[in-house]
Amino acid sequence: MKWSPRIIFIVILMLGLGVVPLLADYFGEPFYTVMFSRMLILSIGAVSLNLILGFGGMVSFGHAVYLGIGSYMVGIGTMHAVEDGIEWMANGFLQIALAIVFSALAGLVIGAISLRTRGVYFIMITLAFSQMLYYVAVGNEKYGGDDGLSLYMRSDFNGLIDISNDNSLYYLNFVCLLLSLYLSHRLINSRFGMLIRGAKSNEQRMRAIGFPVFRYQLVAFVIAGTICGIAGVLSANQTEFVNPSVMHWTHSGELIIMTVLGGLGTLFGPVIGAVAFLFLEEFLSGITEYWQLFFGPMLVLVVIFARGGIDGMLVGLDQWWSRNSPVKNEEVD
């Protein structure tokens, strides 16, 4: 691996994320652990979205639905555990397993219908499905309806991991993020990933070569949904609160923003994007109550001028670096 400003930046970012709780404890600001924990969870969501959006070119505008499914698995399980005394329902492993099953099922159904369409229709139909599930959650009075559910305890991992402590939950999130990054790295460099990426640049050609593109895209869609479902489980544990607004369409939009802001179709782009997004939110809302007044136009400017997102800028920096690097010039001599 050649060191370049981009690689150095990413390494520092990941190492930095690894020591956040230690620093936060050292400086006596545990608030930052919680804030960065949110970044990690949304990073997982963005990484999973990037699989289909960045590498597969499928603009899913309903990705937050899986966050919702994962969250509700925790919310419903914990509610029954606390109110009805069914303790096994608060088991974290079980909740993750259920989140995987239901996210995959939802992904299968949504994908099977929406992948029949292309372009703007695909965007709209994924959006519509997410709104549909949003209304299911809103209308479901038994599980909190519009008000949502408060969690009186976090998931129980058989005593293996005690996530009632914010720091250990942070490291659970961190490990999950690393796993999802590793998985997506393996996936996009596999034959399967090549096919998905090929279908993005020229679907007809992929089909002409003889690949059943639809099936591959559907599998990618399901995998992305499943990973995001796990992020939902973590998210519910983080906020100790579940309500329908996790799967509101604006939340799906935010996931897309994070992915694009960081850099579409790059491994670490979504992580950079999620961190940058939440930083901006925190920073701007600290300055003014009307932070979206600045955030909105910034988004427009990023879309118009900074194609490739932050990662794209880092790549540009790399190119500038390699042109002007003294080391390289010496090598040439």
Binding site: I113, R116, T117, Y121, A128, G139, I257, G296, V300, V303
Partner: protein
């Protein structure tokens, strides 16, 4: 009967929004998520002008050109560079605009919603026939909507401008090559869409409350409408808007009773609200599963 009329009236409002959105999409190939914000601006402009002038009619008449001008300015500043971009970029940029407009409105008008008071004439109800009474203002909405639909039809199919719009939709390079000022045409079409959205907003204002974010819920339903109707088709938008309006309204009022026939009242009462808000999405999924291009796919697309 009353619910059917309500559904019809909701459908008309949806049509006003959908017509603008589908025109903008069909001609400029732009997904404008900020269309709901234009609807919101229409309602806020109307509320302000009505308070200013003290007259409902005058305020309403002022609000429409204001909204049109507003839309044109937005188009010239922010959206013009997006036409050649892919849909993802457009979705993101217009999403950014939504955030901006919501805060903008909060800054100017405050976080609390406004009311649009109706004049005495429109506040009562009218006896239709067989003793059925119906709110006068809702009838006005239906009448205005049908009139606008008719005018829009005339504009698009009978005038020179309409010819340019249709020509621009099917081959924009050619229209540009023939010496038509495409930029101006686009700005005008966007302004027209904004005016229609503003009209919808000002008419929805007195029925619902004028508040921040009022455009977002209805935007999604409008998107469902144009997708069902076939993106780019005004006829499709009209049919789909009425269909969606009727199904949504009638579903909400009758579904509890219908479910009550088959299930216990308890189940019906809890399931009905959820299912009735899902109905239009189910309709859309069903239609797209059979006709991936919508009911009236535009020719040549």
């Amino acid at each position: 009967m009353e619910q059917t009329l309500n559904g019809f009236q909701f459908g008309i409002l949806l049509f006003l929004l959908a017509a603008g959105l589908t025109l903008i999409f069909g001609i400029m190939d732009l997904i404008n998520l900020a269309h709901g914000s234009l609807y919101m601006m229409g309602a806020y402009f109307a509320a302000t002008f009505i308070k200013w002038t003290g007259s409902f009619l005058l305020g309403a008449i002022l609000a429409i050109p204001a909204c049109m001008a507003f839309g044109m300015i937005v188009e010239m500043i922010a959206l013009r560079t997006l036409y050649t971009r892919n849909h993802l970029d457009q979705v993101l940029a217009t999403f950014g605009l939504i955030l901006f407009f919501n805060e903008f409105v909060r800054l100017l008008w405050g976080p609390i919603g406004l009311d649009i008071p109706l004049p005495e004439v429109l506040n009562g109800s009218v006896e239709l026939f067989l003793g059925i009474r119906y709110p006068a203002f809702r009838l006005v909405i239906i009448a205005v909507g049908i009139l606008v639909a008719f005018l829009l039809y005339l504009l698009v199919s009978r005038t020179k401008l309409g010819m340019l719009i249709r020509a621009g939709a099917s081959n924009r390079q050619m229209v540009g090559a023939l010496g038509v000022n495409i930029n101006l045409l686009y700005t005008f079409v966007f302004g027209l869409g904004a005016a229609l959205a503003g009209l919808a907003g000002l008419m929805a204002g007195p029925i619902m409350t004028v508040e921040i974010g009022m455009g977002e819920g209805i935007l999604i339903i409008t998107l469902v409408v144009i997708v069902i109707g076939g993106v780019g088709s005004i006829k499709g938008a009209f049919v789909a808007a009425l269909l969606v309006g009727l199904i949504d309204t009638v579903g909400r009022s009758f579904l509890p009773d219908i479910l009550g026939i088959f299930f216990s009242n308890d189940v019906a009462d809890t399931a009905a609200p959820a299912i009735s808000s899902m109905l239009i999405y189910l309709l859309m999924a069903l239609i797209l599963a059979f006709k991936p291009q919508g009911l009236f796919p535009p020719r040549g697309a």
